[in-house]
């Protein structure tokens, strides 16, 4: 279950995408997420083309890339079903109270596309960017906000720790799961109540571990005199190079195309 979470799991292939400045990748991800909510019909073809070009460039095996979708499968099914049956419009199929409308069909398809592309868009960034790079990027991009007393550094640090802890906790879960299985725990039991009850021996130790890890980390950071962002320098300062400018230019072009298509053709 937890093993399927791809967000926060770096997958090294040293592709061109991996080597891009993390700020470019972060902006690219944001722009992509915005674009899939801007477009409403044929525009998805443009979005998909853009996304799959990037995915191809990352050289990450598709099964790794698509793993993140497993985690939203449930939400996906619910969304599709609700949109399919709950949208009013031209009825094309009806059985008792259940009806499918032309609008519902389109809506369900669009929502599914949005969800899938949203997850893939985020996965492709997190698989090619280490949590450290990502924090550095966000810190650098949101720096202006610190003028408004927004604790940019603290937020970035919290995010990077949270991301870093996902794989650690998923490993820990696996360990506890095995230990309880060795005592005969049955995680594939029948009935929803049994399944929920079976989670207790897993979740209690997991929470305790999470708190223990958090305290240890806080202690280790204090032992190394961590005191927040003020005057803190970086070991690897971010610097834009040629390929980053090219990528940014392509990104602007992509957004321009999306917006133009939307305005001119209502895609």
């Amino acid at each position: 279950m937890f093993r399927d979470i791809t967000i926060g799991q770096y997958y090294p292939t040293n592709s061109i995408i991996h080597r891009l400045d993390p700020r470019v990748k972060f902006l690219g991800m944001l722009a992509f997420v915005v674009s899939i909510f801007v477009v409403s019909n044929y525009g998805y073809i443009v979005c998909a083309a853009w996304l799959f070009t990037i995915i191809a460039l990352t050289r990450i095996p598709l099964n790794i890339m698509f793993k993140g979708l497993k985690m939203i499968l449930f939400i996906l099914v619910i969304t599709v079903v609700l949109n399919l049956f709950m949208t009013d419009g031209t009825i094309i199929w009806q059985w008792k109270v259940f009806k499918i409308t032309r609008e519902g069909l389109t809506m369900a398809f669009l929502m599914a596309m949005r969800l899938i592309m949203l997850v893939l868009g985020i996965s492709q960034m997190s698989l090619t960017t280490t949590p450290n790079q990502l924090t550095a990027a966000m810190e650098s991009l949101f720096k202006p906000l610190s003028r408004l007393h927004v604790p940019v550094h603290s937020i970035a640090m919290m995010m990077s720790i949270a991301l870093r802890f996902i794989p650690i906790l998923s490993e820990e879960t696996e360990k506890i799961r095995k230990a309880q299985m060795a005592r005969g725990a049955d995680f594939e039991g029948k009935g929803i109540m049994n399944r929920i009850r079976a989670m207790i021996p897993l979740l209690v130790p997991l929470f305790i571990t999470a708190f223990r890890r958090a305290t240890d980390l806080a202690m280790a950071m204090e032992a190394r005199c961590y005191h927040g962002g003020e005057g803190r320098t970086q070991m690897k300062p971010l610097k834009y190079v040629n390929r980053d400018y090219i990528a940014l230019a392509l990104l602007v072009l992509y957004l321009a195309v999306i917006i133009l298509l939307k305005v001119l053709l209502h895609w």
């Binding site: 292939t13 360990k175 506890i176 230990a179 060795a182 005969g184 049955d186 021996p201 571990t209």
Partner: protein, 289 residues
């Protein structure tokens, strides 16, 4: 006969960039009633190996048999197998979850489908075997000391009455007194109940003192398999793979090199003492040395 591994190999993350071979072509039989030690440095495949014994992991290649039956064969009840082959993980205290000691130890027997009375009976037997008294039964497991927690966890596995007990570094992170307590306990279980024990350890002294048979893992392969004396005779080769013999073995080799006629294969302090005293024409009785 008890547990047999046949040409077993294991690969983590097959097909991804993280692919890592943990075991290659391991052949191994652990007989009923044996006390086996497994040593090897970090990443040598020992933890993977023991998880194959009770079907927590499925080998990539090869077969695992328990009492002659293929545990990955069709229709084999692997949950049932885990009641017979008990496994205590490293730092088991991290899996405690119940509100009191008694309920936590009862988790295993309860999963076996025993009645509440039977569970509590089994649990109290196991708890007394590990030296946890009745006054602890209603305490929260999280109030206990590290060594006590560890013993409660071992009781949690013992309460299922396993025929084979596998322990992954049961003494890691314990002080010397706690370590001796745990090891003596395991040794007692082996002697009194006749259960098969597999002990994974980093400490050469511990394995030399307790186990009857020693398996050395290196780089996913079985490097040595024999009595501790036989294995530690290869101390120079052991050093090459990042391990060592017990300190006393080195002492005996040095004495031998200096011209004393001692038993250089001695691997425990007691053996060494007897052998050294013999050179000086004395017998081993306290007070004389």
């Amino acid at each position: 006969m008890s547990i047999t591994l046949e040409n077993v190999g294991f690969v983590y993350g097959a097909g991804s960039v993280y692919e890592k071979t943990a075991l290659k072509d391991v052949n191994l039989t652990i007989e009923d009633g044996e006390f086996v030690g497994i040593i090897g440095h970090t990443g040598s495949g020992k933890s993977t190996l023991i998880q194959l014994f009770n079907a927590l992991m499925q080998p990539t290649t090869g077969k695992v048999y328990y009492q002659g039956k293929d545990i990955w064969g069709p229709g084999y009840n692997r949950r049932e197998l885990r009641f017979h082959v008990g496994l205590v993980f490293q730092y088991p205290e991290h899996q405690l979850f119940e509100t009191d000691v008694m309920s936590d130890v009862c988790f295993g027997p309860k999963n076996q489908g025993l009645s509440k009375e039977e569970c509590e009976h089994q649990a109290s037997l196991a708890l007394s075997a590990v030296g946890i008294g009745e006054d602890y039964y209603k305490k929260s497991p999280f109030e206990l000391s590290g060594g006590e927690k560890r013993r409660v966890c071992i009781a949690g596995v013992l309460a299922m009455n396993p025929d084979v007990l596998i322990m992954d570094e049961p003494t890691a992170g314990l002080d010397p007194a706690g370590r001796d307590e745990i090891l003596d306990l395991i040794s007692r279980m082996h002697k009194n109940r006749g259960i098969t024990v597999v002990l994974v350890s980093h400490s050469m002294e511990d394995v030399a003192r307790y186990v009857e048979r020693l398996i050395v893992m290196n780089d996913g392969e079985k490097a040595y398999d024999g009595t501790p004396r036989e294995v530690f005779r290869n101390y120079e080769e052991l050093e090459k793979i990042g391990l060592s013999a017990p300190q006393v073995t080195y002492l005996m080799h040095d004495l031998k090199a200096k011209g004393f006629d001692v038993d250089e294969d001695a691997s425990t302090v007691e053996e060494a003492k007897t052998s050294i005293l013999k050179v000086f024409g004395m017998t081993d009785s306290s007070g004389e040395s």
